[in-house]
């Protein structure tokens, strides 16, 4: 009996010492089943399309398919770099994202700092609820709203212009130079409240003792905002700024595409909308290879920017994405 027990415990200790990789995999087999579907999804819908990037170096032939089409090297890229669109869509993309960043970045911070000084919880909650609301409006509705409100004849812009000037104002929706301002400021209108949540969260972690001590020393509320509140959200703000500047070459197509019209296209065509038009949405035969090449050019730049920005972030604030 004793022997059996001893040998059993011996066997167990052998098993225990043999927690080899194989055993650990076997023991977790159910976990792998959980991961099976998500990983399959990832391989099919995220990694397999990456093999489609070879199109950027090929001339797509309908009959031969992606894999069979002939290689053409960097032809698609040289075509893009020498095309007149290269000189408009790159500056347009950069202008839009830099303007969005400069105008849109500080506002949520200022808003959060001010909102944090409000002493009535009820008022603060009301302001939060109302300013977060536009974030949930769809882009289609947002652009539809812009078209209605800024209509120079029937919109509120038109009726106010009529009252002030006695005549219908200029059609700003048809002015190419106005596009970027409308794009950026409608974006700020929609998202400044939502963007402040992260700063409000950082502000709640500021210790109240710090404020009390400063108050006893005679610091005004504004001084406390400048010297206690602001420094405490500075790390968050730094990370946000660094991360946002990694996206300087990516302007999403959804909103831009809806806001485009024949009159503002010179200012509103960006890389992503151009890729869509060339690759899929073209009314004539879509040029898959060319569209893929421009998309790849953009993705590579975005990847390089993100890696760079992450290095900077790691060095400055010891925080990084990975």
């Amino acid at each position: 009996m004793k022997q059996v027990a001893a040998s059993a415990s011996g066997a167990r200790s052998v098993v225990k010492s043999k927690t080899t990789l194989g055993h650990r995999i076997l023991r977790n087999w159910q976990i792998y089943i959980f991961l099976l579907l998500p990983l399959a999804y990832l391989l099919i819908f995220a990694y397999y399309p990456m093999t489609g990037l070879q199109l950027a170096f090929k001339k797509f032939d309908m009959k031969l398919g992606i894999w069979g089409s002939p290689w053409v090297g960097f032809d698609q890229f040289t075509k893009f770099f020498s095309s007149p669109y290269f000189k408009t869509i790159i500056p347009n993309t950069l202008k839009i994202s830099i303007y969005s960043l400069i105008a849109g970045f500080p506002l949520p911070i200022i808003f959060a700092l001010l909102l944090n000084t409000v002493r009535s919880t009820r008022f603060r909650k009301t302001v939060q609820t109302i300013t977060y609301l536009p974030h949930f409006i769809s882009v289609v509705v947002l652009v539809g709203m812009l078209n209605q409100l800024l209509n120079p004849v029937v919109g509120v812009y038109g009726s106010i212009g009529m009252k002030l000037l006695g005549t219908y104002p200029v059609d700003i929706l048809g002015k190419a130079d106005a596009f970027i301002h409308i794009y950026v400021w409608s974006g700020i209108w929609q998202n400044f409240g939502w963007g402040s949540i992260i700063y409000m969260a950082a502000l709640t972690s500021v210790s109240s003792e710090l404020h009390e001590a400063a108050e006893i020393d005679g610091a005004s509320r504004f001084q406390r905002l400048l010297y206690i509140d602001f420094p405490s959200i500075l790390p968050t703000a730094t990370i946000m700024l660094i991360m946002n500047s990694g996206q300087i070459m990516s302007v999403g197509y959804e909103k831009v595409y809806l806001m485009q019209n024949t009159l503002n296209l010179s200012q509103s065509e960006v890389i992503s909308t151009y890729v869509y038009k060339i690759g899929i949405g073209s009314s004539s035969i879509p040029d898959y290879s060319y569209g893929t090449a421009i998309g790849l050019f953009n993705s590579v730049i975005n990847l390089v920017l993100l890696v760079l920005v992450n290095q900077v972030s790691r060095r400055l604030s010891e925080t990084s994405l990975w």
Binding site: R24, N28, Q30, I31, F34, L35, P38, L39, Y41, L42, F45, Y47, Y48, P49, G52, L53, L55, I66, F111, L114, L115, T117, V118, R119, F123, V127, Q128, T129, I130, T131, Y132, L133, P134, F136, I137, S138, V140, V141, M145, Q148, L149, V153, V154, V156, G158, S159, M162, W189, W194, S220, F222, T236, V275, G279, I280, G291, T292, L296, L303, T319
Partner: protein, 299 residues
Amino acid sequence: MKKSKAVKISTADRTFYITADVILWLLVLLVSYPLIYILSASFSDPSNVAAGKVYLWPVGFSLRGYEEVFRHDQVWVGYRNTIFYTVFGTFINVSMTMMAAFGLSKRNLPGKNLFTFLFTFTMMFGGGLVPFYLLLRDLKMLNTVWAMLIPGAISVYNMIVARTFIQSNIPAELSEAASIDGCSDFRYFFEILLPLSKAILAVLALFYAVGHWNSYFNAMIYLRDPSLFPLQIVLREILILNQIDPSMMLDPSQQERLEGMADLLKYSLIVVATVPIMCVYPFVQKYFIKGVMIGSLKG
């Protein structure tokens, strides 16, 4: 004590508080004015809308715009499709996201780092629009409901949020204890983990559902058949492309009314399309905020 504190507020502070309040009030007005205007215009009389008489409140109250909206069959079809895509899409999203998040929350799982890398790398780089479109074409998914449900089944960002939640809110000892008691990982997932993850399930469901409700671009690229169109595509046709079928209008003979009617229809349509989210939002706001907070932690 309270009194003395109230007295202690200096003039400088009082000026500051008043200034802050005024600025915040102005921001609230700035945000709410366009929304109120749209709502008021949608309840106004078409001729007053066309004449630009609406500034703040409805002028000549009427429900004509709404009658018009609901006479559009395409609006009903769009609504039905959007509800379908939102419900089923969100179900797929949440299931896939939780499965991945659960798997990757296991600390000693062999291969975990590789899997995590596979997920996060897709946030930084991808095949792009055209290869993805060609993939869906090859899979024969174009112009089917699957094109609306499968692409974007997992948002890696949301998956990391969920994983962070599991790792920081559900102690690993719980899973160890359960497995010692002979509880399988399946049972643990369904009977212990999910009930403890209600908060994150709500966050995920809301983020995904709003995404489905509001997206138009995928539908625009992948769908051709109008009977599959979600609401946002119908909205785009009417609001942005001005494709209003004049025969759908009441009294098409009254030409001068047509212009006002078209605008009124748009205002009402904006309200009809946005109202579900606006109604639900105040009640679920805290979950959205929670989602942003968890997401701001390092994943």
